[in-house]
Subunit: 349 residues, 2 copies
């Protein structure tokens, strides 16, 4: 356990929604306060954040800040990662980076511990390890057990993404706008270009030449890297919904090998670490973002054989499902801290 490792940790971006979760998770793992440093922008320096019943004082990040740090968890956006991570890694700090800065770099492993811990092999101090994008992590936690069972040839994913993916200010925006609408006022937009309260909109990342937004491109590229399978085909549509902190995904799969027994699929998912099956047809109880919020597990349900995909021999090659997972936990902070757990258990720091 990292709590007894004697290592020193830093959280970079500690005042953000993900940074706060990282501090909570380090505390929950028993990492002593004196082994944790918390960094943010200069204007946050001196602020205090809770660390269990204790407090931790925010420091401004500069190029010397990480000199004595063994493991630094970055969640301050791509530009901060690009500015500080390579230098700190060169000096021996292991960087676990939650931004998109290095995810697709060939020398940077992109890790979901339950899925591709093996890609960390050969770990050494002074390296960068990337945390995948939140919607990719949550989708792959649900789909990987099925991929191992039957092979995923193609997936069609439509997401229902919480505003927390855009940070603490977006959570405040949803709250503020909801109150404005209930009070009969026009919602004021500061974080998003359009109202998020009582609305749904296409993900607010730039659109590329093929019409995909960046969130959708991440789903395609990161899945291929995490699975080590360049052949998997993905059609993703990423949509924001007025939910505070858990992402959901409606997923339709085309399988390489036929499937006829849903119980076998359900069993494979239930056996997979970090996933819980919520699939009560009689009670109409399935994964919801509210139930997934604050939980470590990704919830998976609405499992159905998709008979719109029968092969030429009359066997079913399709499967539909729905998943919800906490964006701030497994979609970001928890996955990062689990990478630290792995490094410590591999004695790779």
């Amino acid at each position: 356990m990292i709590g007894q490792s004697g290592l020193s940790f830093a959280v970079v971006g500690a005042t953000g929604a993900v940074g706060r979760e990282m501090l909570d998770l380090l505390h929950a793992r028993g990492v002593p306060r004196e082994s944790v440093s918390a960094f943010a922008s200069p204007r946050s320096a001196g602020l205090r954040l809770p660390y269990g019943v204790q407090e931790i004082v925010i420091e401004a990040l500069d190029t010397e800040s990480l000199a004595d740090i063994d493991i630094a968890l970055f969640s301050a956006g791509s530009s901060i990662s690009k500015q500080f991570a390579r230098t700190a890694a060169a000096r021996g700090t292991v960087i676990i980076d939650n931004s998109s800065a290095f995810r697709m770099d060939a020398d940077v492993p992109l890790i979901v511990p339950e899925i591709n811990a093996d890609a960390l092999a050969g770990g050494a101090p002074g390296r960068i390890i990337a945390v995948p994008n939140c919607s990719t992590i949550i989708t792959l936690m649900a789909v990987t057990p099925i991929h191992r069972l039957r092979g995923v040839e193609r997936m069609v994913v439509s997401t229902y993404q919480a505003v927390s993916g855009a940070g603490a200010a977006a959570i405040d925006e949803l709250r503020r706008q909801a109150r404005e609408v209930l009070d009969g006022l026009e919602p004021t937009c500061r974080v998003f270009a359009q109202p998020c309260a009582f609305n749904v909109f296409s993900h607010n990342t730039p659109i590329g030449a093929d019409g995909s937004n960046v969130e959708e491109s991440k789903m395609v590229n990161e899945t291929r890297k995490i699975w080590g399978d360049e052949s998997v085909r993905i059609a993703a549509t990423c949509i924001r919904v007025p939910v505070f902190r858990a992402h959901s995904a409606s997923i339709n799969l085309t399988l390489r090998r036929p499937v006829d027994d849903l119980d076998e699929v359900r069993h494979a998912i239930a056996e997979f670490p970090g996933v819980a099956v919520v699939d009560d047809r009689a009670g109409n109880r399935f994964p919801t973002p509210l139930e997934a919020s604050g939980r470590d597990e990704v919830l998976v349900g609405r499992l159905r054989l998709d008979t719109s995909q029968m092969d030429e021999r009359g066997r079913c090659r399709g499967l539909s499902l729905f998943a919800s997972g906490d964006q701030l936990r497994k979609g970001a902070a928890l996955n990062a801290v689990q990478i630290a757990d792995l490094l410590v258990s591999h004695a790779a720091v």
Copy 2:
């Protein structure tokens, strides 16, 4: 126009969310107040609803109520339709039924006027015409122009459905729960079994043996009937989101004939009546339920060639899109009133 037809109209279920829209639409078309009767359950009898600047008094529905009515618009649920519609039709009233009671009956046309007005041919007094389910209408308004252009072989649909589909009480529930959550209280559930505010959940209709809920089965069966094509394959996942009154759908198509020119697709959609293209990639502006609310048109955008579906000759057979449409308008009341428009213009009453 039905306003100058001299015909008598009834709205059955006038106090409901759809019933009120029906009254608004009849008024907007210039139907005089004295030509409109409004019916609801006995406990609503005597209530007054606005009809333009005038008022209309609700009457309790009984078996004699529709004796002098030429066209009755039913939106009071399946059981009321089953109880009253066949008898009234046998006596000569045309029933335009918004419930699911008769949709799949062989002798009942299932009509979206922009799509299959021809299925009304041979219209006569004393018949029942069904309005499709809201999510089916909105999805097919977006997809039919593409179906005509390239042929839809299969579609994967994930919906983002407003609470208005569950009626006026559900709209109140979303409002009440949102305020409770903002005030730090537990949301109280009366209409839905689980919180709808700041949450997303699988559609609250019963689940059949194949794992589909009723909303999803309607999408499959009604699409085949409206298109007159039993071969179209559909995988639907119907999900409720905390939105007041417009449904959205993320749609992925497999086309019978290859597509390479998105402008051609965009043009076909723009030319289709009742649909508006909202597809501004540079401005990141696409259909939203908020923008669709109160509008007659179904909004269509996020048009993308889906390169995860290339055929053996390297041609693209896939297309992705996103649509939003007002559930109470085109998804219900407007479609019903448009059927009345059609009947009058065909002199079929």
